[in-house]
């Protein structure tokens, strides 16, 4: 009986994914290889992306130039694109712990609510991407996602720019003004978490380790919950300097546009900086940079406070990051090496007061090192090592082993991009990506075994788990290993 059930499940998963593969549906979370960009410039996706959304030196300059470069077809019509994404998620071991554990059954979705999820229409997005007029251009995404957050269309990543050039003495300066709605979406090197690897994560089950830095989205500020504006210069095609500020949007606005407020409020203006040097020679491109943000956060402020309350103590979150990117791009091979290190200092005045943290100051360090190889813009292979570690905090990480935020592992991705160098002749700007991502945890929320300290058996408590996963209730880091299959299509 069980055997038949298993077979059925496998069959349905296989059939469904096959359907995705057939190109019927599919698409990405943060897709940006916009068909409207391809129409506008006349270029293939592969000019600006190795395997999207990873940018090439040309893609970076197209974006910094305000999405306004043309050369393609002048449609006299808004540059609209659409995308569709399907995904299938398999977690190594079901999320079926007993009540009270961290791994209680996950709600909804899929054919097996414990460790397999499938959604053929996981996400639908509509984009406005390209030149608005003259030097003004934009990338605007609206997304309908049914699993990730709320249900319904929501304002997604947006980046509006005005960019021009000017010769100042010996310097060729490309300068721009930018407004955006998500910290880091304006950046052009794919180390910044907003556009960094992994480009797709599952929207099902659990969302990975519990600890992350602000820049990695730990405050839960989705697009539109904060908005930012700033200016940048790019000097001699080499030195990039940017200064921006972010502020929170109002509750009413968040309800109206983003599907609801996040629980943590950004108070005041958070300054953000980015410096980078990119040197290009022949087929090589090397970037070294730093960036950071300093934010006053009222943790849990949404529940605790009405909008616009003043005088409440804040947590001060300071992120400073260093990044490195090397690319070797020929007409056949494309190698991208990425390294990113974020150091976060959390001054937890507000959290401490509210009993959310035990320490006054916590540190968090997040490292990612990865390599991507793409063959003829069509087959992409990526391997990335990640390591998050920081100060143990009895309250903040009360659910973690040893109250530690530490997690570590690898992410492998293989993808097939049939249309990077031009889509089907009736719609040459189409783009598609079909891929498999495997996330492997060697450490998860503080430990490699017994990562769910609340797991208890009916008769005994967690003691059973010490020394490894010996009972059905104990969970090791590798039980959270996740396979994600995705299919996306853009047109």
């Amino acid at each position: 009986m069980a055997g038949i059930n298993e077979f059925n499940k496998a069959l349905r998963a296989g059939a469904a994914f096959g359907l995705g593969l057939a190109g019927f549906v599919g698409v990405s979370e943060d897709a940006s290889a916009l068909p409207s960009f391809a129409r506008q410039t006349g270029q293939n996706c592969s000019t600006c992306h190795t395997a999207f959304p990873q940018l090439t030196p040309f893609g970076r300059r197209f974006k910094l130039g305000g999405y306004t470069a043309g050369g393609g077809i002048d449609t006299q019509f808004p540059p609209i694109s659409a995308m569709f994404m399907s995904e299938f998620t398999h977690i190594n071991r079901g999320l079926n712990g007993p009540p009270g554990s961290n791994y209680a059954p996950a709600p909804g979705g899929g054919y097996n609510s414990n460790n397999n999820w499938l959604d053929l229409s996981n996400q639908v997005s509509i984009f406005y991407g390209g030149k608005i007029w003259g030097n003004l251009g934009a990338f605007v995404q609206a997304t309908y996602a049914q699993d990730a957050g709320g249900n319904g269309f929501a304002w997604d990543n947006t980046d509006v720019r005005y960019a021009d050039t000017r010769q100042i003495g010996p310097f060729d300066v490309l300068w721009g003004l930018d407004a955006n709605n998500n910290i880091g979406v304006q950046d052009v090197w794919n180390n910044m978490p907003a556009w960094g690897f992994p480009f797709f994560t599952t929207t099902f089950g659990f969302q990975g380790p519990s600890a992350g830095t602000l820049l990695e989205g730990s405050q839960g500020w989705g697009p539109g919950q904060v908005v930012g504006a700033g200016g940048y210069v790019f000097i001699n095609d080499m030195v990039y300097l940017e200064l921006s500020g972010y502020g929170g949007t109002s509750h009413d606005f968040q309800w109206a546009i983003t599907g609801g407020p996040a629980s943590n409020l950004l108070s005041g203006v958070a300054p953000y900086y980015r410096v980078a040097v990119e040197k290009n020679w022949g087929e090589h491109s090397l970037e070294i940079g730093a960036y950071g943000i300093n934010a006053n956060v009222i943790t849990g402020g949404n529940a605790a406070l009405p909008a616009g309350t003043f005088g409440w103590p804040t947590d001060i979150i300071t992120d400073n990051a260093f990044d490195l990117q090397y690319q070797w791009i020929t007409d056949v091979h494309e190698v991208t090496l990425r390294a990113n290190y974020i150091l976060e200092r959390q001054q937890l005045t507000s959290s401490l007061l509210q009993g959310i943290s035990t320490n006054n100051v916590d540190y968090l360090r997040s490292l990612k090192i990865g390599a991507e190889y793409v063959y003829k813009n069509t087959y992409a292979f990526t391997a990335t090592y990640f390591n998050v570690n920081g100060t143990a905090d009895m309250t903040l990480y009360s659910a973690n082993s040893n109250f530690s935020p530490n997690s570590e592992g690898w992410i492998f991705d293989i993808a097939y991009l049939p249309f990077s160098r031009g889509g089907p002749s009736i719609w040459p700007w189409a783009n598609a990506k079909f891929g498999l991502t495997y996330t492997l945890y060697t450490r998860f929320n503080g430990a490699s075994s017994n990562v769910d300290p609340y797991a208890t058996s009916a008769i005994d408590n967690n003691v059973l788990c010490n020394g490894g996963s010996v009972t059905p209730y104990c969970r090791s880091a590798s039980d959270n290993n996740t396979l994600l299959a995705y299919a996306w299509f853009m047109f």
Binding site: R39, Y144, F491
Partner: protein, 252 residues
């Protein structure tokens, strides 16, 4: 269900968005039966119509009138500089255009358009950059870039400069190597449709000289014959020498 509706709607919008361009340039049916424009196919039955020559339209009126934006003027330089560099000094594999001879730029744009310049990076990038470039705009761009002051890439091997200079100026008659100076000029600044070489990047010069021997761009007379007798080390020396030539003055 809702998603399917949305998908259909977004598809419709997206096709609608491209509607005018189908009418203008890309008849999808014509696309299905094209013979590549590159192949001078004398007995082609269904030939692709010649690309329409349209007048470059001024930017359409700003639709929202929200911001007092200045109108774009001059040729659409941005269409080229996101690859060729902010002031067209070259970037990575992309050659410098600043200070290049206008007549040569125009000639090359034609060679990209008819695909006779078929070097791998030409096919990958430049073939897509020119099909919608009207001749008037191509001329205006060529003129614009030729007036920009070039900077020398100066990225070759300094140790080879003397050897390169000797080859450039005197050739090597016994090895059947002609002098470059007779055509490209004493300071390698070019003349007419003969390109300026001074200060182009080492990797670009090297690649160009090598690729003629690999069979690419055979229409670029007389260069395929000129490079035939050049050895790898001679190409290295020439490319190194030329990359250092200082040439601030813009040419026409």
């Amino acid at each position: 269900m809702k998603q399917i509706g949305l998908t259909v709607a977004s598809l419709a919008i997206s096709f609608l968005a491209a509607g005018p361009l189908h009418a203008q340039q890309l008849d999808p049916l014509a696309l299905l039966k094209v013979t590549p424009a590159s192949v001078p196919d004398h007995n082609c039955v269904i030939c692709r119509p010649a690309p329409p020559l349209y007048n470059p339209r001024p930017d359409s009126p700003y639709p929202l009138a929200l911001l007092p934006l200045p109108p774009a003027n001059g040729p659409p330089v941005k269409n080229c500089t996101f690859c060729h560099g902010v002031s067209a000094q070259g970037l990575g594999v992309v050659p410098r255009l600043a200070g290049q001879r206008a007549a040569y730029i125009e000639k090359e744009l034609g060679a990209f358009r008819n695909h006779s310049r078929d070097n791998p990076y030409s096919a990958l990038y430049m073939w897509n950059a020119v099909p919608n470039l009207p001749p008037e705009t191509a001329r205006a761009l060529a003129d614009y870039f030729s007036r920009e002051a070039p900077q020398a890439a100066a990225d070759g091997n300094r140790a080879l400069v003397d050897q390169g200079r000797a080859l450039y100026q005197a050739g090597e008659p016994q090895a059947n190597i002609v002098t470059c100076v007779v055509c490209h000029g004493p300071d390698a600044q070019g003349v007419g449709a003969i390109p300026r070489l001074a200060g182009l990047s080492y990797s670009y010069l090297k690649r160009r000289l090598e690729q003629w021997n690999q069979g690419y761009h055979q229409t670029a007379k007389p260069m395929p014959q000129v490079t035939r007798s050049l050895s790898a080390s001679e190409i290295d020396a020439l490319a190194s020498y030329l990359s250092f030539l200082d040439d601030r003055a813009a040419s026409r």
